[in-house]
């Protein structure tokens, strides 16, 4: 079979998120709150030399995501790459880094935390970049982030 360079349509303007580990593409969209926010193309399960388990791609049309938005992706896909596309060309290749604080999109695993019982909005502060650990502002427990903690509402 012939190699297809783009199995997902290329876009004229917008943001391309590549090298998301399979199957986290949908999770990335939820973290960014991009459901029902316009046209997106999603590719799941591409072969990748760097990612033996496969990679996903998300292309968000006509929207340049902010740094605060793309940094959230680092919570579950630290090796994801971001390209901002303008007029069919890559106008910016962006590095992502873990956000210093995370609000609303992550739940606290401590069942006795105010966020789980009293309705406080979740709010975590970065504790360690090496281990991707965040500390809950309320119950003060430190938690290593994994995809299941990220809200799926």
């Amino acid at each position: 079979m012939m190699d297809r360079a783009y199995k997902v349509y290329s876009i004229e303007n917008g943001t391309v998120i590549d090298h998301i580990p399979t199957p986290l593409a949908l999770k990335v969209i939820r973290i960014l709150g991009l459901e029902n926010q316009g046209i997106m193309t999603i590719g799941i399960g591409f072969r990748s030399e760097k990612q033996p388990g496969g990679k996903d791609i998300v292309k968000v049309e006509n929207r340049e995501l902010s740094h605060d938005e793309t940094n959230k992706i680092a919570l579950i896909a630290p090796d994801a790459t971001i390209n901002i596309i303008k007029d069919g060309r890559v106008s910016e290749k962006r590095q992502i880094k873990l956000p210093s604080e995370v609000k609303d999109i992550m739940s606290c695993p401590n069942p006795n935390c105010a966020t789980n019982i009293l309705g406080a909005r979740t709010h975590f502060l970065l504790e360690s970049r090496d281990t991707v650990t965040y500390r809950c502002r309320y119950c003060e427990r430190a938690t290593e982030v994994h995809a299941d903690l990220l809200t799926t509402k």
Partner: protein
């Protein structure tokens, strides 16, 4: 410069070393009788959503001694929360009735949440297994008062180091000042790894031992004893065996040197024998009484009655 006016006291994690020192120094001045009537015209609400007679009474005594008024709930069944009012609504409402809220709540993070919901200062009097900062302040003040300094000390902590929030907060504070720490506990109740890692990061020297003999060899200025709770053991016989190993008597004190001071957050059950109470080493009742000037100082600082 540590500023406290209108500030909530939620967690030792929010405190700089200057903040800790400011509270300890202010407590000293309150205890020496330098100030009076600094809460006059102020009203303090004590909201205890779980019972804690000792802490509530000491806050109320602190308010009266400083010339303020106090009201509150001592029993959650008597509050409108039992009628289904939300926590947020309760706090917002009470915040309009007083100048400071003192809160104890079984849910971790409740005090932080209350501080965000109200525009008056909130003092955390215990939130579940998380924080009890006024206990840490009174412990620090007691150490400063009894040993003359807060740094360069050899401090042992014994008992349930895994679940004890008191020892976690105190460890954090003592590490900031630079002290040598020895943790004495049964292997199943050791200081959690994440706290030891914090100490490593701060380059604090510490040792982990499982018996008093080894602790005695490190040499201690203070031994901070906490209760080992029966509930932590499935087998009551196992509990008796462990609890017996970590009991302070006049005999076991011999292992630890004549100048050792013994502290305990109280209430104690039998982890310190009553025969120890009358020795000059026992300072746990002084420590408990220091809860009053410590809470007076905190209330004075957050209301602006003390600078």
């Amino acid at each position: 410069m540590a500023r406290f006016r209108d500030r909530s006291i939620v967690s030792i994690r929010d405190m700089s070393i200057e903040d800790l020192t400011k509270v300890v120094e202010t407590t000293q001045r309150v205890k020496e009788g330098e100030f009076s009537g600094f809460l006059e015209g102020r009203t303090v609400a004590t909201l205890f959503f779980e019972p804690s007679t000792r802490t509530r009474l000491s806050f109320e005594s602190a308010v009266f001694k400083s010339g303020g008024s106090v009201f509150g709930i001592a029993n959650p069944k008597a509050s409108s929360q039992s009628k289904g009012e939300s926590f947020a609504d309760s706090i917002r409402t009470v915040a309009g009735y007083c100048d400071v809220i003192v809160i104890r709540h079984p849910v971790e993070g409740a005090a932080r949440m209350a501080s965000e919901l109200s525009d008056i200062p909130v003092i955390n009097a215990g939130d579940g297994a998380n924080q009890h900062p006024t206990q840490t302040f009174l412990d620090l003040f007691t150490i400063k008062e009894q040993l003359g300094r807060l740094k360069g000390l050899r401090i042992g902590m014994m008992g349930d180091l895994k679940y004890g929030r008191t020892v976690h907060s105190l460890t954090h504070a003592l590490a900031m000042y630079g002290n040598r720490l020895t943790f004495i506990s049964p292997p199943t109740l050791q200081m959690p790894g994440h706290i030891l890692k914090e100490l490593d990061d701060l380059k604090v020297s510490y040792s982990v031992v499982d018996n008093l003999e080894d602790a005695g060899e490190t040499g201690l200025d203070i031994l901070y004893v906490t209760r080992i709770q029966k509930e932590r053991f499935g087998d009551p016989q196992e509990y008796e065996k462990v609890a017996g190993t970590y009991r302070i008597t006049r005999e076991t004190m011999g292992l630890l040197g004549d100048d050792l001071r013994i502290m305990h957050p109280l209430p104690r059950v039998d982890e310190i024998a009553e025969e120890v109470d009358t020795t000059p080493n026992a300072i746990y009742f002084i420590q408990a009484h220091n809860g009053i000037p410590t809470r007076q100082a905190l209330l004075g600082l957050v209301t602006g009655g003390l600078e």
